[in-house]
């Protein structure tokens, strides 16, 4: 088991290094030079040279990469060109917001998806099941940012009960010690702040959750359907248990395992999906920062964000793999 974990950690490190190399090279090859964007009217060739030297762009890509790697190994990811602050602090400062949003979205998706699957199974071969299938099909075929626009129209304009932009109301009188606003507000017992945060994050989280919920619903329903034909479920029926009991107590515990594995893998895509949704709702997370970094051709910041995303993805995959091993003892010796 330990050897397996060590091997996976080594693979993770190699993956991250590969990502770093690719990102470093690609963002320097694609057109768009941050120095050119910084040039004021009247700048001279000397000004260009001075700025290039200031940000190290006068060196070869290989030299730049070596300097960057040396810095990273010491925890220094460079300084953002547009924000003029250390990249490590910036990306780690934003990560909690994105994780909170993705977690709220995950909870909503699990509740919605499980409900749809259970209802579809309970009323299988009826119009209700057909309605569940159509609903999940629609939910999946419309992308999250479009759901965002629909939600803004519905709950932001026509029936304006949720906040359209931001993460928390500027007028709220609270100083957070960390960037985990929701968790901190809960721990402090500030329900007014919790309510305010949720009123801001509900729509972006729901936009992210709807397609995710559809995937959960479809897979769980399929698993439940297959489980419902197994002998022990039939036995439960013959004992006289009602259909609700059979589904929830007998079939669900077995059917849910493949879905949980999928949830782990899909969660990484959920975090990736925050990029556009955060922008739409002006949510101050990592995704929103990523778009600004790309627009400004802020190379150090882009590198930092991509590396952090890659780290999250690989760690979640690692966790899912390990969880799978824990849940399935046969794999421990594989």
């Amino acid at each position: 088991m330990l050897r397996k974990i060590f091997t996976r950690l080594l693979t993770t490190a190699i993956t991250l290094f590969g990502v770093a190399v690719i990102v470093f090279v690609v963002i320097r090859v694609v057109p768009g030079n941050p120095i050119a964007m910084m040039l004021p009217p009247g700048a001279t060739e000397a000004d260009i040279a001075r700025l290039q030297a200031l940000y190290g762009f006068d060196k070869s890509i290989f030299q730049q990469f070596l300097i960057w790697v040396q810095g990273v190994l010491q925890g220094d990811f460079g300084t953002s060109i547009s924000l003029r602050q250390p990249v490590a602090g910036l990306v780690l400062g934003r990560l909690p917001a994105t994780l909170e949003l993705a977690t709220v979205a995950l909870v909503i998706a699990l509740v919605m998806g499980a409900t749809m699957a259970l209802v579809g199974t309970r009323y299988r071969n009826t119009k209700t099941e057909a309605a569940v299938d159509v609903t999940s099909g629609m939910a999946l075929s419309i992308p999250d940012f479009l759901w965002g626009l629909v939600l803004i129209l519905l709950f932001g304009v026509l029936w304006p009960v949720f906040k359209i932009s931001g993460r928390i109301s500027p007028s709220l009188d609270i100083d957070f010690a960390t960037n985990f606003f929701l968790i901190e507000a809960l721990l402090r017992g500030r329900l007014d702040v919790v309510s305010n945060i949720l009123s801001h994050s509900f729509m972006p989280a729901l936009a992210l959750a709807i397609p995710f919920a559809a995937i959960i619903a479809q897979l769980l329903k399929q698993s439940l359907k297959e489980t419902m034909h197994l002998d022990y479920v039939t036995l439960a029926r013959t004992k006289g248990y009602g259909e609700n009991h059979v589904i929830l107590k007998e079939a669900l515990p077995n059917a849910v395992l493949p879905t949980l594995t999928l949830v782990g893998v899909q969660f990484t895509f959920l975090i990736g999906g925050t990029v556009i949704v955060e922008r739409l709702f002006s949510y101050e997370g990592l995704g929103n920062m990523a778009i600004d970094a790309v627009i400004n051709r802020d190379l150090p910041l882009i590198q930092g964000i991509v590396i952090l995303f890659a780290l999250i993805f690989t760690l979640i995959n690692l966790a899912v793999d390990m969880l799978y091993v824990v849940l399935n003892p046969r794999l421990r010796h594989a």
Partner: protein, 507 residues
């Protein structure tokens, strides 16, 4: 009234939700909320990428004072520097500093602050992107409320730059105490608003400076939310979550300003849309350039694509700029375009071909405008292939003089001086110009240091005429900025495009 069970439930649910999350309202406004279209990356208005980003100047002008302020109509006012001028032979400058001004922390603003602010941006080591202007003064001294400096190389636009990019007064004592990082974390200025709270990439909360030398602003608290998505800004103002927003699509502007509780203001700003012509390939043929210019029906494009919100221009000067010359015209004349092309052997059956680059979504309907222009060109015998590029790529290609034969861009020039429009855009050695023609170069060269102001302006008008007659660039339009606001707010638009809360009052 008969209440159904469903209706009762719906009303109760709505009441609970509204009580929980708050009710948006257009009623009496205590705290002004603005949904702004760009985020603020840095609080230092004198260095880095943010310092030369025109869209950020509204934030800076709320907290800091320019050396010399600009009025909403782009004229120059009297501010921290009340009076200024050159000595007789234009080798030195003097400035008088307003007395009785205090910084946000209560310290007095003195001539020493002005001298230090200027010396700081003049020093190449501070990283000021406008050092090429500020570096033209040396030996900066202060005595009483007067600041003096030598200017070995005369710069006629020096005082105009004091209202422009990086032209801000910073507090010497405070800055030296807290350092660059401390200043970024807790900036203070002498402007109409003080920074109360700043959440990077989320919002800035401003508190009125009750001691502002120009009079305390009307709204005691202003929150500027960073809402970069246009659809979200529309929703913000439509739902009442924000009282003011800007840069929304013109169709949405027309729709919303007709609604109860919302009003709209659409005023020209100093930004222009233009097509750079790079004198390479077919663009070395004057007939092709002139045909391309005469084949564009600017007014119809403005009317049809921009709902009429734009002002057609024929030079790089807008009517607000000091060197605007209404007698320079490049009329829409497709027949003339055809005959010019025919002189060079081109026509609808044998079209001249070149590439045109365009942004898509960087400015309102930019790509659609270029599509329309390409359509108009096709009618006279020009076949242009559109290449969409990001604005960062445009900057890189322009700096390297590698733009396509035609390339769409927008140019801002809030001080309205011809040197900062025609000058930098058309003077070959500038990294912002792709026009290398010697005629234009020779006409512009003596104007950089022309000391006689009327002669200088007339000189630029002559340059503009030469450029228009030879179609060396294709100016298209002056942009109009749409601002939506609640009826409870009166907004005074600023020609620079900066949305300034201290110019807003209760209606």
């Amino acid at each position: 009234m008969k209440l159904s069970r469903r209706g009762m439930l719906r009303s109760t649910g709505a009441a609970i939700t509204l009580a929980t999350f708050g009710t948006p309202t257009f009623a009496a406004i205590d705290e002004l909320v603005i949904a702004y279209n760009v985020t603020l990356p840095s609080w230092n208005p004198t260095v880095g990428l943010s310092a030369v980003n025109p869209t950020l100047q509204g934030y800076y002008q709320s907290v800091f004072d320019n050396f010399i302020p600009q009025n909403p109509d782009l004229t120059f006012g009297s501010g921290i520097i009340t009076d200024y001028g050159w000595n007789e032979d234009n080798s030195a400058i003097w400035m008088d500093v307003r007395e009785g001004v205090t910084w946000h922390n209560g310290d007095p603003l003195t001539a020493e602050d002005i001298a230090w602010s200027l010396a700081r941006v003049a020093d190449p080591d501070t990283g000021s992107p406008i050092q090429f202007i500020w570096g033209k003064i040396t030996n900066i001294q202060h005595d009483g409320n007067r600041v003096t400096a030598d200017m070995p190389e005369f710069e006629p636009t020096f005082f105009k730059w004091m209202s422009f990019l990086t032209g801000y007064v910073l507090p010497k004592k405070y800055y030296e105490e807290v350092g660059a990082e401390g200043f970024e974390a807790a900036p203070i200025g002498s402007g109409p608003y003080m920074v109360e709270k700043f959440e990077r990439n989320a919002f800035v909360r401003l508190k009125a400076n009750q001691n502002y030398w120009g009079g305390a602003p009307e709204f005691k608290t202003v929150t500027i939310k960073f809402v970069t998505d246009a659809a979200s800004r529309v929703a913000e103002v439509e739902s009442g979550n924000s009282h003011v927003t800007l840069e929304v699509p013109y169709e949405e502007f027309d729709r919303l300003k007709a609604k109860d509780g919302i009003e709209g203001t659409a005023s020209p700003i100093s930004d222009i849309g233009m097509i750079f012509l790079n004198d390479i390939d077919v663009m070395t043929d004057p007939n092709v350039r002139k045909a391309a210019a005469h084949a564009i029906d600017k007014q119809t494009i403005i009317d049809r694509l921009l709902s009429g919100y734009g002002i057609a221009i024929d030079t790089l000067q807008t009517p607000d700029y000091v060197a605007f010359d209404p007698s320079i015209e490049v009329p829409y004349d497709p027949e003339l375009a055809k005959s010019l092309l025919a002189e060079s052997g081109y026509g609808p059956d044998n079209p001249v071909k070149f590439k045109i680059q365009s942004t898509r979504g960087f400015k309102p309907k930019d790509f659609e405008m270029i599509q329309a222009i390409v359509g108009l060109w096709r009618r006279v015998g020009i076949e242009a292939e559109i290449e969409v590029y990001e604005i960062a790529k445009h900057f890189e290609l322009r700096a390297a003089d590698q733009l396509a034969p035609a390339a769409f861009y927008n140019w801002g020039n809030s001080v309205g001086d011809p040197s900062t429009s025609t000058g930098f855009a058309m003077f070959g050695p500038s990294p912002h110009s792709v026009w290398d023609g010697e005629d234009t170069f020779n006409k512009i060269l003596p104007l950089w240091a022309e000391a006689d102001e009327s002669k200088r302006i007339e000189g630029w008008k002559a340059v503009d005429r030469h450029i228009a007659e030879n179609a060396e660039v294709i100016p298209l339009l002056q942009y109009v900025q749409p601002i939506l606001h609640a009826t409870g707010v009166r907004v005074t638009p600023h020609r620079s495009g900066a949305l300034l809360p201290h110019l807003m009052t209760r209606a």
